[in-house]
Structures are given as structure tokens and as C-alpha cells.
Symmetry: C2
Subunit: 638 residues, 2 copies
């Protein structure tokens, strides 16, 4: 594999992460999350569902497996597990895991229909309803995840067993869906296949997949709305759509005309990720412009500080600008994963660091909070305040988040670097090694870039260069927006201080042994929300580097709501190797309201006393006993 003109993530085989912060999480992901997922897929019958006969044709009741009826999104869960497990094999070869994957793929091959169709739920349970309700029934969504799994499996193992299956399936689908004669002008109710087809294009170079992705994006939201056409064809009244609006799946207007992030948050993120990828591949200015508008809308109006989005449980998604409730925040883990997908592609599309800033925010906060340090307990919703009753669980009736977490963590290297024929971009600071072949026009040299740092606890990052021959390429180092006073040296020599598009850009002839030192000044900082956010009025949050902090009741000597942090109180960070696997806490002198009497109401304000406030990274909340938590703290002004 070599680099191209497009800025793309490195192949998984080109990068490895070995980092004090990330490695324990990746180890837990491999050692605990992956087996837990596989165990659950076996337990509920998701894997066995590939072997199911057509129950509907036999006229028998839909079977239950350990009490669970087959679910129409199971294929996606199996696919995400394959994707995560395959990625894991790159750095940690594991014959048993490899065999589990091969077994699952063999079952998939057996379940694939002669025409290429592959969906266990519809094949086994409701074969007469195949391809009749893309609005609700997740067939193209499942297909997308199969395709993503196939791409990763192929890139990780070199095997084409799953790739062959999904390319057959994709060709079947591109026969069904399109604007040609006899085709249905449809597209998915839950976006996913668009970004998957673009990954398939990047992996195979076959333009048919790019074209099919473009078709889905071009068709979306056009009139007459396909979901209404499809409902009429089923004999349903289109008005009986339970979600009430096509904004729910971003099908209310053509994608190039969209300006506001609406509806189901995960769907929106997957759609926009595909739009950004296609905009880059096609050089499509209108699509890029839509992406930029949507990005501005999200980040100016509706993004939680933690990189979460979608405040509402009722639509698993968006509500009004500046509506960011903390205790009832839905902020689904998958939505933050999807935001990282989109942000990475926006950074590649535009070259601007602000996108990678948000990618980092999502990864270090709302994504990581989705899984316990132990790797086997998960959060679906990621509120910014809890009374102690919001806990992680081992599984979920709609188990989308755990395997989504598993696959993004297993492919973390794709987020650390981006590469093109003549440029290496460093988007995340994490101990890692990148090995690529430079483009032929540069000279085709073998470049190894090794990164060392104690990020996010410390802001000094060191990169060393190995080359089999000198090469003139550009290295871009992201300067996070919060890192004022960042400095860069090459071999000890100071580099120009002003970032370009948010990156320190160094173009020179590099030689083996060259060393880059980046210093990002890091200290606890206070963050305030826009005054239009009613839920954060009068409150302050604490951040440190890329991490958002929270207070947990177990660390304080006062009720969380009784604590307030004086605006001028000094804050300090202290690394505690014993706490939560080793984290830096933020400490400061606070005040706490004191109970004066039993009276429920009083004409006297509560007296206050001195208190000590200890904050931990939001990423590791709820890893101890049940205890209240909050990100936004009362601020007092003396």
C-alpha cells in the first residue's frame, strides 16, 4: 500500500500505538471487550442466526434463542465485532480469534443468497418483506457494516473472503437501487452504507463503489421522498411514520442544501462522514460547503463539551440550538464515535486542525467514557451529570455502542495520523509508530515516524524520523486550540511559531535521526458555555489538555450541588498513579454550602465553609462505586 494525493488514514498495518494512556484501554478492548462481545453474540444467537432456515416459509413462530428473538440489526453487530477483531489481529496475532472470524465469515457465505443478498433477519424471519422498508428496517445499514468489516478484515489479514461477499452484495444492491429503469430510487433510513462504500472504494480502487455511494448521497432528500413512495408501495400511509419527520434521518432535503444538524445523531454523523469523504474524493465544492455549514451548526450550537451530541432520548438526537441538558443528556456513545468519523474526514478534506480538535475531544471524552476501564461495561448514554444511578451495563437490547467502541479503539492509529503522497499529518499525540512508503514523486522512500509522549498528562511530544534515504516531505503537527504558547523544534532548532490552519507545518529534507520536539503548555483551565445555554448558566467546567473533567461524589467531602468553585481559586493538576489506572486529578480550594437548620426554607442564605474540590477526567467516571457526578460546577465570584 502506498500513499495517494488524498489525505487518508494510514492502513492499520502501517501504524501501531504503544502509549501509556491508550495502551491499557486498547489492551482492555482486546482482552475483555472483544471476548465479551463475541460471547454475547453467541449467547443471544446472533451468530447462529446465519444458519437459520426460512422460518416464515415454514409457517412457524419466530424462534427465540436464550429468550431472544432475532433482531434486524444483528448483522451490524456481528460485522462491527469482525471489524474490531480484525483490526486487533494486526498488532496482536491470535489464531483462535482469526478462526472465530473465519467461522463467522463462512456462515455469512452460507447465508448469502444466490443473487448476492445477505441479511439474516429478512432471510430467516421475514423473507417476504425484504427491501420493502428502508425507512425503518436497517437493511442497507447492516450492509454498510458488513462492507466496513470486509474492508478492515481485508486490510488487516489480506484475506478476501469477506470482501468477495460484500462486493457481491454491493453489486446486488446497486442493481436494486438507482434511478435507472426498473430500479428503486431508494436510500437507507439509517445511513452507514455510504461511508462504507467509500471505504470499499479506497481499499479496492474500484470506482463502482464510489459511484454507488454518490448515488445514495445525491438521491437523499429529493422529491418525491422515497420513504413516502416506499410506504405507499407497501400499502402504508406515509403519514403514519412514527418519527413524524424525515429530519429524523436527514432525508428532509437534498444533502447539499442541508444547513442544520437534525434528527437522530448517529445517522447524521454517518451521513456527514460520507459527505466529507465524497467531497474530498470528488472535489465536490457544494458538498464540502454543506459539510462546513453543518459542522459550524453543530459546534456553535449543539455540541456537548465532552464531544457528545444529541441531547434527547426521544429521537436519540438533536433538539434546539443551545439545548444542552446535563442530567438527561442522551449523548449516545455511537454518536461521539460517528463524530470522530466525520471530524477525521473533515480534517482530511480541509486540512484544518479545528476538525481534529473536535475529533480529539470526542475520542478523549465521550467515546472513552462509553467503556469501563475493565473493558466489559458500557454506557449507551453519556450524561454530564448523574445522581449516581446512571451506571454502565454489560449488554443492551440495541447493542450498537459496545462494538462501535471496540472498532474505533482497535483502529485508533487511523486517528493519530493522516498521510498523503508527500505529507504526514499528526492529529493525535500518542506513543506510536508510523511506517509508510512515500509517494513515487517524492522518491518512494520508507519513512518511519516514532512518537513518544506522556500526553494527555504532559504536553511534551517527541517524534523521531527514520528514512532509508533523505526525503523532502511536509510534516504537520496539530496545535490544539487550547495550547497557547506551543513551540516546535527540529533537532533543537526553533520552528516558525504561527500555525497554518492550526498545524505547525514543517517542510524540509528529512534524514534518519531527525527529531521533532513539540511542547504544548498544559494547565487546568476553566471553560464557560455560551450564555444562551440555560443549563450551564452560572456554571464552569474544568479541562486539562484534551480532557474534560468532572467531579464524582466519592472524591469530595460535600454534596456536588453544594460545592462551588470561586472564580479566582487556584487550580493544580497532580498525577495520581494509583487512581483509576493512573490519572491526573485537578484540585482546588472550593466552598461548600453548610446546613444551618432543619428548615426547608430560610430567609438566610446557607453559610459556606472551605472545601477541597478534586476532579477526575470525565473519560473515567463511573469506574468505582455508584456516586453522583457532574461536569458543570457552580461557580462563585468573590
Amino acid at each position: 500500500m502506498t500513499t495517494t494525493d488524498l489525505s487518508l488514514p494510514p492502513a492499520l498495518t502501517q501504524v501501531s500505538v504503544h502509549d501509556a494512556f491508550w495502551s491499557p484501554r486498547l489492551d482492555a478492548n482486546r482482552a475483555h471487550t472483544l471476548p465479551a462481545l463475541y460471547g454475547k453474540l453467541v449467547e443471544v444467537g446472533a451468530l447462529d442466526s446465519y444458519d437459520l432456515p426460512e422460518y416464515a416459509k415454514q409457517g412457524v413462530t419466530i424462534p427465540k434463542h436464550n429468550g431472544v428473538t432475532p433482531q434486524m440489526w444483528w448483522d451490524s453487530d456481528v460485522a462491527k465485532w469482525i471489524e474490531a477483531a480484525s483490526a486487533s489481529l494486526v498488532t496482536h496475532p491470535d489464531a483462535a480469534l482469526d478462526a472465530q472470524i473465519d467461522d463467522a465469515i463462512a456462515r455469512m457465505a452460507g447465508a448469502q443468497q444466490p443473487d448476492g443478498y445477505l441479511n439474516t433477519y429478512f432471510t430467516a424471519i421475514e423473507p417476504d418483506k425484504k427491501l420493502t422498508n428502508e425507512r425503518d428496517w436497517h437493511e442497507l445499514y447492516n450492509a454498510g457494516h458488513l462492507i466496513e468489516a470486509a474492508v478492515t478484515h481485508y486490510q488487516a489479514t489480506g484475506k478476501t473472503s469477506l470482501l468477495d461477499i460484500v462486493e457481491r452484495y454491493a453489486r446486488f444492491l446497486s442493481g436494486v437501487y438507482g434511478t435507472g429503469k426498473g430500479q428503486r430510487p431508494g436510500y437507507p433510513g439509517h445511513e452507514e452504507i455510504e461511508l462504507a462504500l467509500l471505504r470499499l472504494y479506497h481499499a479496492t480502487g474500484r470506482r463502482e463503489h464510489l459511484d454507488f455511494a454518490r448515488y445514495f448521497l445525491d438521491q437523499r432528500g429529493t422529491l418525491p421522498n422515497y420513504f413516502e413512495t416506499e410506504a405507499l408501495a407497501r400499502g402504508d400511509d406515509p403519514k403514519d411514520f412514527w418519527a413524524g419527520t424525515h429530519e429524523y434521518m436527514q432525508a428532509h432535503q437534498p444533502v447539499r442544501e442541508q444547513s442544520q444538524v437534525v434528527g437522530h445523531a448517529v445517522r447524521a454523523m454517518y451521513l456527514y462522514a460520507a459527505m466529507a469523504d465524497l467531497a474530498a474524493a470528488d472535489g465536490d465544492a457544494a458538498l464540502r460547503s454543506a459539510c462546513e455549514r453543518l459542522w459550524d451548526d453543530l459546534t456553535r450550537n449543539s455540541l456537548y463539551l465532552t464531544g457528545g451530541l444529541g441531547p434527547s432520548a426521544s429521537n436519540e438526537g438533536m433538539t434546539q440550538p443551545y439545548d444542552l441538558p446535563n442530567d438527561t443528556a442522551y449523548a449516545e456513545t455511537c454518536a461521539a464515535v460517528g463524530l470522530a468519523f466525520w471530524a477525521r474526514r473533515m480534517a482530511a478534506l480541509t486540512g484544518e486542525a479545528k476538525y481534529a480538535d473536535v475529533m480529539e475531544r470526542a475520542l478523549y471524552n465521550n467515546v472513552l467514557s462509553g467503556v469501563s476501564l475493565s473493558g466489559d461495561r458500557f454506557l449507551y448514554e453519556n450524561p454530564l451529570e448523574s445522581d449516581g444511578t446512571h451506571r454502565r451495563w454489560a449488554w443492551h437490547s440495541c447493542p450498537c455502542c459496545p462494538p462501535n467502541l471496540a472498532r474505533i479503539l482497535a483502529s485508533l492509529g487511523e486517528y493519530v495520523y493522516a498521510v498523503s503522497a508527500h505529507e504526514v499529518t499528526v492529529n493525535l499525540y500518542a506513543g506510536s509508530t508510523l511506517r509508510i512508503n512515500l509517494g513515487a514523486d517524492v522518491g518512494g522512500q520508507k519513512l518511519t515516524l516514532t512518537q513518544e509522549s506522556a500526553y494527555p498528562w504532559r504536553g511534551d511530544v517527541h517524534l523521531s524520523v527514520e528514512l532509508n534515504a533523505p526525503a523532502t516531505v511536509t510534516v504537520r503537527l496539530r496545535i490544539p486550540a487550547w495550547a497557547s504558547g506551543a513551540t516546535v523544534t527540529v533537532n533543537g532548532e526553533a520552528q516558525p511559531a504561527t500555525p497554518v490552519q492550526g498545524y505547525a507545518v514543517i517542510t524540509r529534507e528529512w534524514r534518519s535521526g531527525d527529531r521533532i520536539d513539540l511542547t504544548l503548555p498544559m494547565q487546568p483551565r476553566r471553560t464557560y458555555a455560551h450564555p444562551a445555554v440555560r443549563q450551564d448558566a452560572g456554571l464552569v467546567a474544568l479541562e486539562y489538555g484534551p480532557l474534560v473533567y468532572c467531579v464524582e461524589g466519592v472524591d469530595q467531602d460535600a454534596d456536588l450541588h453544594a460545592l462551588s468553585l470561586p472564580r479566582d481559586a487556584a487550580l493544580s493538576a497532580r498525577f495520581d498513579p494509583e487512581l483509576l489506572g493512573g490519572v491526573s486529578v485537578i484540585e482546588g480550594d472550593a466552598v461548600a454550602d453548610q446546613v444551618g437548620s432543619d428548615d426547608l426554607y430560610s430567609e438566610s442564605p446557607p453559610a459556606t465553609r472551605a472545601a477541597r474540590l478534586t476532579a477526575i477526567p470525565y473519560a473515567v467516571w463511573d469506574n468505582r462505586e455508584p456516586t453522583p457526578m457532574r461536569v458543570w460546577l457552580r461557580e462563585s465570584v468573590r
Copy 2:
């Protein structure tokens, strides 16, 4: 009617209210609420339901009337309308209304079964299910409201038409329910009949009604739990109780053992009102002690500042101590009405003013907020914060609150005064006239007490005495807990300053022309919640006299959440005759967060600017265009 040794409310015929604050509300109640209620009862078919044949026996589908199926609580709604309308006749004779009442009563007489049973729902719709599910089906609740209506109708009109019906019904029920042979040891799932039977006892003097009330209270919460026995008798599994716990209806333990206000708030209030009344009538120390424990629990842990209670919609009731959410507060209007019932009886039972303080709080705030100034729009839930979408409505599928409001407003005089053979207690300050015959032991004189005041806008109250002969009685004037520095003079002569049990107590020989002047110093005051109330941490509320204030968006030049009130800002009250029918507003200099940039998050706290804060009484919120509202305001400390 003459006075007794018990402290009881005056009969409706003994008191009239003519007050600048209350009369417009009472006029709206009579002129708009009562006709609106009657119109709705006709429209939905509640009145016609008395004429329904037994559909179930005919084997036909339950009929709908204007699209509405008969509801099992309709009898209570008709009864509450009769009660309110009857009370209205005392001060405002109205032949047409009198005829409407007579017509309804005649229908009831026609619907009463030969054995005395009277329930339109079960007679017409499910005759086979009569008296089989007191846990859920509201039969005794409906009976209680019929009894209350009969008592008021009798007291107001002297007619016994409804009284005869309910006494027959009560005797039928006391045959069914009891601990004797062949009786069922049951009691209501929704309390109400207990307090109604006690009213029937007070009105008729017949001890059988007192005894039946006592039976219900004694039996409640004993083991085996009757609702489980009853479920088994129906063939149901007692574990399938949808509410999950007998705390829901305060049947989890015998009433004399109860210490914590639990479950459905309205049910709790109705129960405790009956307990207090029986404790007084029986001199039952254990019952009184339970009432006092429950009162302390409510007022120390769970009472909204507005006199509302029951924060949770899911059980229409109680949750945990100090859980007082503002925006999601259920705080049902009926619960505050029920609190006024209970508080009035506690004040009578104990002689302590603190109970009447809470009665006043409920009446002037959460009760009054339940109805629009126009008298025809209602709140079921009374939150202390709204984004502008919580509005009054004209009717409700469970329309308990509007007629409950109507009856308590129509009988307001019962809350202003309490009388016994030798004592007059003034619990509320409102322009009014009380005419009673003193007890025979005092001399049987005719006493007329006339009260004049501009309360709650001003704290000076004037009472004048008329007597056909001098009489030595005690007059007790409540000194509200907030009124420090209150003074009382009789004929200009200062009276002892220290209240007894919260009352200024004046025992003397009174003569016609005697004049009492009470001065309650009144100024805007700040109120703070106990530090354990997380929802009010850092917030302050404003009160003035008995009124809790709120800010509505329409009166401010800043978003409500962006406003904060400096702790030392001067506050002033100003009467505005043009605003909301004439109210005093509280005004003060506040500060407002300013928007500095489009950034959703910033390292800089919002700059502030001077702003003017204008607060209105909570009782009159949502009487203009939709606008946000909040009671608890951010406080800043300079």
C-alpha cells in the same frame, strides 16, 4: 347552626368574602369556571351517564358521547361541580344554577340502585365488576365526593335531596365494608370518603358516619393487605399491581404508624385531612401524633415553596426527601387543594398557626396558579420553572383539578375563619364578614366580625366587632411566621406582642364598635432552600407577604437563566393596577450575562451588564402570551 367545642370552619352561610384580592377570583370562579365545568360535564356526557341503561347486560359496546367513553371518576367531577355550585348559591342566589343542581340530583336519585349503590360507571358499563377493585377503581372515592357535595348542598340550600341519597349510599357501603361477619375488610384505594364521612358527621351529628370514617382509617394498611385479598378474590395476582407498592395509596402500614409522606400526593393529603379531623373529634392522641410526624416530614423535606407537593409525574406524588425539581415539578393543583384541607384541620386540631401558614401558602400560590384570571383555563401541574411551553388548558382527560379549584374557591370563607363555642380564629386576612351565634355557655350572642384589608399587597388589617350584647370570647389573629414586628391594637391600645402558638390572642369582653388593628410589616424578602435541595443550590426566591414571586420572560430584558440577582441588591414592591388585574411587582437591579461571541465554549466567563428584574406573583403566571418563567433565580454574591 351554632358553634361547638371543636374548632371548625364556619358554615358557608355564616361568612362572606368581599375582598379586593379575592373577589375578582371568586367572581371569575362563579361567572366562568362553574359554567365552563357544567358545559364540559354536559359535553362529555358525564351528566347523561346517570341516565344510562346497563350496557353490559345488553351485550353492546360501551357507548361514546361526543367521542368520550364514560370514565370511572366522572361521578366525582359532577359531585365537585355540585359542591362548588351549591357554595356559590350562598352568596349569589341563581335560580338557573339551582335548577341545574336539582336536575343533576334528580338524575342521581334515578340512578341510585334499590340497595343504595350509586355509581354511574359501574351501574351502566361494568355492573359485574362493582365493588371488586377498590385498589384501582375509585368507587369509594366517587362516593366520598358525592357525600361532600351533599353536605355543602345541604348547608348552602337547606335541601336534603342529595343528603338523603348519600346517607342511603353510606349505609349501603357500611354494610359492605367492615370487620363484621359477611363484610369485606376493605377501604378505598383513593382516599376521600374518610374526610367526607367526617364532614357528614359534623353536618348531621350522626355518629354512624364518624364511626364508618374511623373504620376506614383503622383498617388501612393492616395485614393481610386488603388490596391483595381483593386481587386474589378477583383471580388476579396481587404482584401485578401496576403501581408496584401500597405506598402509592398510603396502605403500606397502619395510619397511626406512618411517618413519611409517600405515594400519590392527592391521596395522601385527603387521608391526612381525615386523620386530623378524626384525631380532633375523637381526641385520638396516636392519630394526632401521626399527623404531626407526617406534617413535619412534608414541610421539612418535600414541600415546594409554592405550597405544591409531589414532584414526580410517574406516581403523581412523592419521591425522596429534598427532591424538588423545578421544571419537571408535578405539584398537582389537587394536591395543593388537599394540603389546604389538611392544614386547616391541623390548625383546628392543634391551635397552632404554623399549619395555617402553610394553608395560606398553598392557597395564595399553588392553588391560585391552577386557574387563569379568566377562570376558564387550568393547570394540572404547577412547575416552578417553564420554558414557555407549559400552558393552561380548557379541560383534561382526568379533569379532577378544575372542579377541585372551583369548590375550594367557592368555600373560601371556611379557610378565613375557624370558630368554636368561645373563640374566633382569624387564619386568613381578607375582606370578609363573619356572622355567628356564640355558644350558649358564653351567652348565645350574635357576633358579627367585619374584616377589611388590602392584603396581600399591604399588611394592615382592620376588624370591627358587632354584638347584640357584650360577650367575653377569645379572638385569635394569626401572625404569619414571616411577619416579624407585627403589632396589634384594640381600640388603639397596644396588645401583648408575643404570639401564643403563632396567634395574637385577645380574650376580653367585646362590645359593638370595638376595633382591632393588626399591622404585619411587609416587604420583599429573599428565601433560600435547604442546602440539600440540589435543584435550588445557588438560587434565591422572592416572596412578599404570603405570595411567592416568579419572573416571566415577557417582563425582563434578558433571558431568565442569564439573569442573576445580587445578594445585596435592593428590592422594592410597587403596586401596578394595570398589570394582571392589579398586582404588586417586585423590582430590583440585577445583572445579565452578555453574549460575547458565537463560540459555544470559551475560556472567558460571560461579561455581565446591568439589568432590571421584575417579578410577579406566582399565582398569576401564564396569564399572558407564552413566555418562560422561573421562581428560583440565580443569585450572585458581590
